[in-house]
């Protein structure tokens, strides 16, 4: 026993180093697995509040661009409204039974207060949290396309796992056919993402639009992602398909968070089927 104490005394400096290093590596490894990183995230009170303060200053310089994006989206939505008017005329006499009518998705607005895009594993911080009704695993988009999925949450802030992340896997499909694949990122250029697992019978052309596939309970179908930049077809397989994003991930101001109201029901059913 005495020798043990002597040993600890003698090497206490090294042991302290070892203990702290193990704690740090523990956080790191936790961070690399998608669902576990709870402790170290910028969605806490101090760093979240801090980024919020700084962002309110930075925001002032981006007003012009942000306004332009809003007007662009307004025009797009107005055009959409004009399209549907004709349809409604023929359906004027259809009675919608409100007890049967189900809304699947709810959109809410949030502001990005911290954004990184140059690292291998990028995340964003937004200024809404559990108090505003957000929860983990909600989709985050803006008018130009997908941005990511909410990862950690605190009472007033949330971190978003960006699509520019090694752990990000998103179900996407070609717009002109129903073949779907997986969107991921090789970590090189933040404008270029990769789509894998597209079956070989799919016809792929440069310039084709990629949209979200709606095969998960997070994103609705048809949200824009990007266009195909180039691809490689070898050994009767699509080796890699590079797509360039519609979004500029380096300048993101306001985003929309998508809440799927029927997610619980879908998950429950899927779990039940899988367990049988």
């Amino acid at each position: 026993m005495q020798q043990l104490i002597y040993f600890i005394k003698k090497f206490r400096y090294f042991l302290l180093f070892l203990v702290l290093e193990i704690i740090a590596l523990f956080f790191t490894i936790q961070h690399h697995s998608y669902h576990k990183s709870k402790f170290v995230s910028s969605a806490n009170f101090i760093s979240g509040g801090f980024y919020n303060k700084v962002n309110s200053i930075n925001e002032f310089f981006l007003l012009k661009r942000e306004n332009y994006i809003l007007i662009e989206e307004n025009v797009q939505l107005k055009n959409l409204l004009e399209n549907t008017k004709i349809k409604y005329i023929s359906e004027t006499f259809v009675i919608i039974d409100s007890s049967q009518y189900l809304q699947q998705y709810v959109y809410s607005v949030a502001k990005v207060i911290n954004n990184n895009f140059t690292k291998r594993n990028n995340t964003l911080t937004i200024n809404k949290g559990s108090k505003q009704g957000l929860s983990p695993d909600l989709g985050v988009v803006n008018s130009k396309g997908v941005i990511g999925v909410i990862k950690n949450i605190s009472s007033n802030y949330a971190t978003v796992l960006s699509i520019l992340n090694n752990n990000s896997r998103l179900n996407v499909r070609l717009k002109n056919s129903d073949y779907f694949g997986t969107l991921n990122w090789n970590g090189k250029d933040y404008n270029i993402l990769q789509v894998t697992d597209i079956p070989r019978q799919a016809i792929v052309k440069v310039g084709d639009t990629i949209i979200t596939g709606g095969k998960s309970a997070i994103f609705p179908e048809g949200i824009l992602v990007g266009t195909i930049k180039n691809f490689e077809f070898k050994n009767n397989q699509y080796q890699k398909i590079n797509i360039s994003l519609f979004n500029d991930m380096s300048t993101i101001g306001y985003v929309q968070v998508i809440n799927n109201l029927q997610k619980k029901e879908q998950k429950k059913l899927e779990l039940k089927t899988a367990n049988e």
Partner: protein, 168 residues
């Protein structure tokens, strides 16, 4: 003594703020972000009480991690260079005994400062990028990232030392 505590605390906070608010958004050539906060490690006075230094540098790294959502990457790397700082300094100066309280980086000649700063910076950056990419496939990316970011960090931190540290 009190003066020393105050100046190191101020340096801690200002370096964290500089790193988090400015340097993490530099993106030179698209991806280079210098990690100048480790200058705090270079400048910390050498004392008998080394345990406090280890704990403080661990928290320095962890603070950066909190702000940049990176798990414990910076904490691990910063702690490691804090641990090897004294041996490196001894090797660079080719001396085994120090006048502990009178240590001042500015009294050393420039080539030795460069050697000391460069060794610690490259070690730190290598650990950071290894833990960030966490895969053998990305080995060349890790090496090139370490190299270019290190150049940037070394330049900025030596410049900072010469501009802001008094010669006394």
């Amino acid at each position: 003594m009190n003066n020393l505590v105050l100046s190191n605390s101020v340096r801690f906070i200002s370096l964290v703020l500089l790193q988090v608010l400015v340097l993490n958004h530099v993106n030179l050539f698209g991806y280079l972000n210098p990690m100048v906060y480790i200058t705090w490690i270079f400048l910390f006075p050498i004392k008998k009480n080394k345990s406090f230094f280890l704990i403080a540098s661990f928290f320095l790294g962890l603070t950066i991690d909190f702000f940049s959502d990176s798990g414990g990457i910076n904490a691990a790397a910063t702690l490691f260079i804090a641990f090897i700082r004294l041996p490196i300094l001894k090797a660079v100066l080719r001396r085994s005994d120090f006048d502990f309280l009178l240590f001042n980086l500015r009294t050393i000649s420039i080539d030795k400062i460069f050697l000391y700063v460069a060794t610690l910076t490259i070690t730190h950056h290598f650990i950071v990028f290894t833990l960030e990419y966490f895969s053998f496939n990305a080995f060349m990316t890790i090496i090139s990232n370490t190299f270019y970011t290190s150049i940037f960090t070394i330049l900025l931190s030596i410049l900072g030392v010469f501009l802001f540290v008094k010669k006394k």
